[in-house]
């Protein structure tokens, strides 16, 4: 089997058996990039020399017999809104095109301490605002299953790089589905952890109360291994939690037994707006769980019709405030010609931000402005409370909730760019989870008639990350829908 087809779990065993070196794995990863990434365009930047030095350093440690973590020597691609010291972090925006991060994000520190090798920075929708990876200043990324289609977004680069076998694992960020939806569209696994369990320090903020860093991989056990490394409290993120060891020890506790599990199926997530093939595939997954011994209950989450308005008000409001820092003064793009200070701000921002980002900043400014604050922002906060309560009540009846990850499969490039509402509807199944701060995982459950992957989503209670990972693992073991790499044409 070619090296690029191996999962991180398999590569890790090969390294510990001294069958292969970290440098060899990295070279194989870059060979794969050379042969496919002109079609996929997952990477924004690659610093090959730095990565090779990192890999060589791991090999030296192995030679010296130093004890290393399980993932030591494995390459990982990083979404370009997570800071790696001395490396450009562009957020796929002109305004940060030349921004060189002066520090490491906490997740980067942790990965580095565990010996992972950073293969490069991958593409995204500008400032993570988008669901198709088409809103990048550097151009779109393409779906490895069909390069005429979108990979999903905003972590489209993170999903495509893994799906095309360039790396086994990557990091993305998920504000309204930005890890899970591209994972679904690319036929891989993506985890959005419970809010606060993974530090956001060094992740460029979009909507701070919703943002969460999460891993993407081609197998659930790879997701578990990366999660082992990145979870935990951080004094530099005051919203982070210390995760009790018994709740956040994932890879050693992988367990495919679902016999005492109750799976809730919310009828609203299988209603009219969901594509028929997606619905059928996810309902088949329900049957699979039943066959494996899980108990199935029908539940109701009627707030679904209000989740998109709530999400777009809260996320845009926070974005308008967070993105105020980009003013052309301390770092980032500065307009060449301006008359005075205010003109410098206005021109730098108008020239530096793309259209979707400007639109969301303006929407956020609008819902927070005098006269509209109560009608929009406060109302959305109250709706958020109700959405949370509804999930809490649902979890009285079940352990995990099963839904589609996206109402549709990957669509053609350019198809939905003209209509923002069609694009926003793609987030229907995922945004409520961020609003409620819950953990959720997306994994492949089948293919549609165009051979495009279909993803299903398992949602857990707060801190039940291990439960959803194990529930996903059980399905993967039963169906063998794992480690899928398409032929790239």
């Amino acid at each position: 089997m070619e090296l690029f087809r191996k999962t991180a779990t398999e590569l890790s065993k090969m390294i510990s058996n001294r069958e292969i070196s970290a440098v060899e794995i990295l070279n194989a990863s870059y060979d794969r990039t050379n042969s496919v990434d002109d079609k996929i365009k997952a990477y924004i930047s690659v610093e090959k020399d730095v990565a090779l030095k990192q890999a060589q350093n791991i090999d030296d440690k192995i030679k010296n017999g130093e004890g290393l973590s399980k993932l030591a020597g494995i390459p990982i691609a990083i979404k370009d809104n997570i800071c790696i010291e001395n490396t450009n972090t562009t957020c796929a925006s002109k305004i940060l095109e030349n921004f060189n991060a002066p520090y490491n994000a906490t997740v980067i520190e942790k990965l580095e301490q565990n010996g992972l090798v950073f293969s490069g920075k991958v593409n995204m929708d500008e400032f993570a605002m988008g669901s198709s990876c088409e809103n990048s200043y550097f151009g779109p990324t393409f779906n490895p299953h069909d390069v005429s289609r979108v990979p999903g977004g905003s972590s489209g680069g993170s999903a495509a790089v893994v799906s095309s076998g360039q790396t086994a694992i990557s990091l993305g960020s998920d504000t309204g589905g930005s890890v899970r939806q591209p994972a679904a569209h690319c036929g891989i696994v993506g985890l959005k952890p419970t809010y606060g369990t993974v530090s956001r320090y060094g992740l460029v903020a979009f909507a701070s109360s919703l943002d969460q860093i999460g891993p993407l991989a081609r197998s659930v056990s790879d997701i578990a291994m990366v999660s082992d490394v990145i979870y935990g409290a951080d004094k530099r993120d005051s919203t982070s939690y210390s995760c009790p060891k018994e709740l956040c020890n994932f890879s050693n506790d992988l367990n495919a037994d679902v016999t005492n599990l109750t799976v809730g199926v919310p009828r609203e997530y299988f209603a009219d707006g969901i594509n028929a093939e997606v619905k059928e595939s996810v309902l088949n997954a329900v049957k699979t769980y039943e066959k494996m011994g899980a108990k199935i209950v029908e539940i109701s989450l009627p707030m679904l019709e209000y989740v998109l308005p709530t999400y777009y008000i809260l996320s845009s409001a926070e974005a308008s405030s967070n993105l105020a820092r980009f003013d052309g003064i301390k770092y980032g793009y500065r307009a060449e010609n301006y008359d005075n200070l205010v003109d410098l701000y206005v021109k730098s921002r108008s020239e530096g931000f793309g259209e979707e980002v400007q639109k969301r900043i303006m929407l956020g400014t609008y819902v927070l402005s005098s006269g509209y604050y109560d009608a929009y922002y406060n109302k959305a906060l109250a709706a958020q409370r109700k959405i949370k309560d509804e999930f809490n009540m649902a979890f009285d009846k079940c352990d995990v909730i099963l839904t589609p990850s996206s109402p549709v499969t990957a669509y053609k490039i350019g198809d939905k760019n003209a209509d923002p509402m069609a694009m926003y509807l793609g987030d229907l199944c995922t945004v409520a989870i961020n609003i409620a701060g819950l953990p959720a995982i997306s994994l492949p459950c089948g293919f549609d008639s165009n051979k495009m992957p279909i993803g299903m989503q398992l949602i857990g209670k707060r801190f039940a990350d291990k439960k959803i990972i194990n529930t996903a693992y059980a399905f993967e073991q039963e169906t063998g829908l794992t480690n899928i790499i398409p032929d790239i044409k």
């Binding site: 005051s238 003064i329 500065r334 009608a375 109302k379």
Partner: protein, 93 residues
Amino acid sequence: MVTKEQIEHVAKLARLDPKGEILTKISDDFNKVVEMVDKLQELDLGEIKTTINTEIKNAFREDICEDSFDRAKILKNAPSQEDGGIHVPQIVE
């Protein structure tokens, strides 16, 4: 319906000045999005107390002095610099 004047006002508050095609596109989309979020108005939320997304109460820590970033490293990203400071346009006449 959000008027052109309102959109220009919001742009001004946000220190943005979209022009030409971008302004037309943003204005069209803006109304569609506002119509979508207006759906919330039909919800009767009564006396529900608003919330923020974290259950953490106070995240206290000791107030300890630590080294901050290196000046030269931070200045590397400044669009314009002079004598160890960031160069900005004249503010006081």
